[in-house]
């Protein structure tokens, strides 16, 4: 099949970008979307032109590197897959495909279709963990966790940190991402001691990074390649408000017995 691509090209974060049109010819239906771009890049390289930069790595839908905004959708038109799992049989011969990077002030473009998503790391660093050192753990089966709870925590834990939720959101909100981690750890018994300090720390960092707020349009849920649900955001809000009203460390800032 032959396609026309409108691709966002931008030298770096300081330079203005623009759309450039390319022809992708002789594309097989069995190719993944990224393999189609590989073909285009090979022909650009042969002409000693700069190939199109895009982030990618595992190409099996789990590392969360790939991040293309294809025809107005993060990860393209199909549901519940990443760009690397999108195959060309989804498109029609002769079609024009528009490819953009993730769009969010908190994800600046580093080059072409690649963005800087380190804000996600910083949110996790603010509190997305259980404080346990190596070596001090008790026997794994000493903690009983009901299967439904374990399964639900797992559902939240499947987030791959790709940022499609932010790209999809008109407010560029990161709440689906942040709430997934908070929910995973908040559901598990191991996560209880830090449950409320965690949510406050992570939300504060999220705000500092410049992500917008949630207005419940649900675009994030619709576009999430791992089908993380809005319920996570509800859980996060619940924990956040509970923390503010009842659990904030300042409220209980007295030493017992004094």
């Amino acid at each position: 099949m032959n396609l026309t691509l409108k691709v966002w090209r931008q030298k770096n974060s300081q330079t203005a970008g623009k759309f450039v049109t390319y022809k992708a010819e002789g594309i097989s239906e069995d190719m993944s979307f990224l393999e189609m771009l590989d073909v285009v890049n090979e022909s650009l390289t042969k002409k000693n032109d700069e190939p199109i930069y895009f982030d990618h790595d595992c190409r099996e839908g789990i590392c969360g590197s790939c991040s293309l905004y294809i025809n107005g959708h993060p990860h393209g038109p199909k549901k519940a897959i990443t760009t690397c799992q999108l195959h060309m049989r989804t498109f029609k011969d002769g079609e024009t495909i528009t490819i953009e990077p993730w769009r969010s002030a908190a994800f600046p473009v580093i080059k072409d279709l690649g963005t800087d998503r380190s804000a996600f790391d910083r949110i996790q660093q603010a509190g997305g963990f259980i404080s346990v050192n190596t070596g001090g753990a008790q026997d794994a089966n000493a903690i009983l966790i009901p299967k439904v709870v374990a399964d639900e925590a797992f559902n939240s834990a499947t987030c791959i940190g790709c940022g499609a939720c932010v790209a999809a959101c008109k407010n560029a909100s990161a709440m689906l991402f942040v709430s997934a981690k908070i929910t995973q750890l908040g559901l598990l018994p191991q996560g209880q001691p830090e449950r409320y300090s965690r949510v406050q720390a992570m939300v504060a960092q999220m705000d500092e990074e410049g992500f917008g707020n949630c207005t419940n349009t649900g675009a994030c849920e619709a576009e999430c390649p791992k089908e993380i649900t809005l319920t996570n955001i509800a859980r996060m809000n619940n924990d956040f408000f509970s923390a503010k009203l009842f659990r904030e460390e300042g409220v209980h800032d007295h030493v017992g017995g004094e």
Partner: protein, 644 residues
Amino acid sequence: MSLDAKIPQGPLAEKWSKHKFNLKLVNPANKRKYDVIIVGTGLAGASAAASLAELGYNVKSFCFQDSPRRAHSIAAQGGINAAKNYQNDGDSVYRLFYDTIKGGDYRAREGNVYRLAEVSVNIIDQCVAQGVPFAREYGGLLDNRSFGGSQVSRTFYARGQTGQQLLLGAYSALNRQIHLGKVKMYTRTEMLDVVLVDGQAKGIVTRNLKTGEIETHAGHAVLLATGGYGNVFYLSTNAIGSNVTAAWRAHKRGAFFANPCYTQIHPTCIPVTGDHQSKLTLMSESLRNDGRVWAPKTVETAQKLQKKEITAAQVKEEDRDYFLERKYPSFGNLVPRDVASRNAKEMSDEGKGVGTTGLAVYLDFAEAIQRLGEDTVRAKYGNLFDMYYQITDENPYKQPMRIYPAVHYTMGGLWVDYNLSTNVPGLYAMGECNFSDHGANRLGASALMQGLSDGYFVIPYTLGDYLATIGPKPVDKNHPAFEKTKQEVIAYNNKLLALKGNKTVVEYHRELGHIMWEYCGMARTEEGLTHAKGLIKALKADFWKNAIVTGENDEVNAALERAGRVADFIELGELMVTDALARRESCGGHFRLESQTPEGEALRDDDNFAFVSAWEFKGEDQEEELHKEELIFENVKLSQRSYK
């Protein structure tokens, strides 16, 4: 030079405990005076960074990805072994040790493997404490399943994404230390060389992948956790970015490379469709618990299937050959990976392969769906079935999967002693980038175990001994070795950037892959390997004349990154062929056609080849020198592996 593996004396079960006691300790107040460099943030790198920072060392952690969470450990699917014996089915540390030694075809060290089995139980405890959501039973206890090459259920799993969940656990521990200021994290930063001062590793040279800046970093020790080199085959189940560069450049600075020819070809991957293909997708080996592997009994039937004249469902039961069940009645579909892969290749070679290319066999779930119901099968393998459907456009609930072996894991790597130290003092290697624990074949669910064992439970002890020995005096970053090494890296990159020929780096990579797969893949011969060596030498010469590398250094330049990695793969490819030539026996994943049993199984030659091959770099375009570390077996009896 003689290689001292430093295996502690004494009974097998006491070696590690005694060794831990004998290792020197660093005073708690002195730990903060040491800087430790860790390259790679997969299971081994992230767990080591977190654990060493918890102890009080200052850690600098590096990864080429945009986030430490994206290291390729994340893609591991099936599970992680641990000798917990939660299932009361006869498992023990000794059994896990024995299975691993046997699975590796008796080409691993007893001491290392026993330690791995011993600490496996702690790994599960640690991960659960971090909030890793392993699969559970209704009573709230952890669930287990069985995996290839073992007859007990000792594999812990998190649906089909155990790797991601374990890595996110280690990543969260790493994040905590970054938050506490004990780890300084460098993302999108690629290590391009190691700095040696008076023969000791004291730092690294890196390239900032966003700005192109070449920088030096100093530390009291350098720990590599940079993964395997499967991408030398171009097509593999590795991530596109997985590369050998850090390990290879360390090798060129003096670190020995051990057993490079030991590569694992995984049996259950989605077959190749064409030349455009950029990677192969693995489907967890756990599928073999319920899926039955078969090929048509006759070439005629196979041809009809290849031409799509009939469908798999139309092949009658008596016309199917469930070849693994037939040949290995006691292990059946659960034989180790090397055995399963070789048998699939044999079927295809005999013309009994299926799919349009004839390079595939079936993995059939019809019987399982009938026995368990579609819902149960979906609950167990749903994500794998979906993935298969996405890629092939075929519904595995309705028709059998087509599978074919693909390069998956490399057992070889930098030579390390029992302390995970390479022969270069101060330079350590952990996880897949070392060679240590899997012998000539790795068992399923053992890679995650080894990565986390090295990072959480081995290096925190053994590194302390070295650091205590050298003392906390700061590393002098003004030593001329830093600037000299940096200038060498800059010159090398400029040489790459000057290449303005007519063939892309990807084309060279693909060509190298063809050579490796054809001559150094699942079946190897003296003649083929000799031929391959010539081809690779020619390829290297051609690369440095005719490759095209676009762009400049001072910008994001994926072409330059790839060029450096491919150049290193070409050199490694030659060493793999050299190693495969020198090892005139078959063992595990290394199958020499000249050395097989009458039944066509790998035939070892223990009298002459019960050693680790450790190769020393002797200079550009020079033959490498082989050093042998004899393998001593005091506890297991070497025997012909049998899974019949």
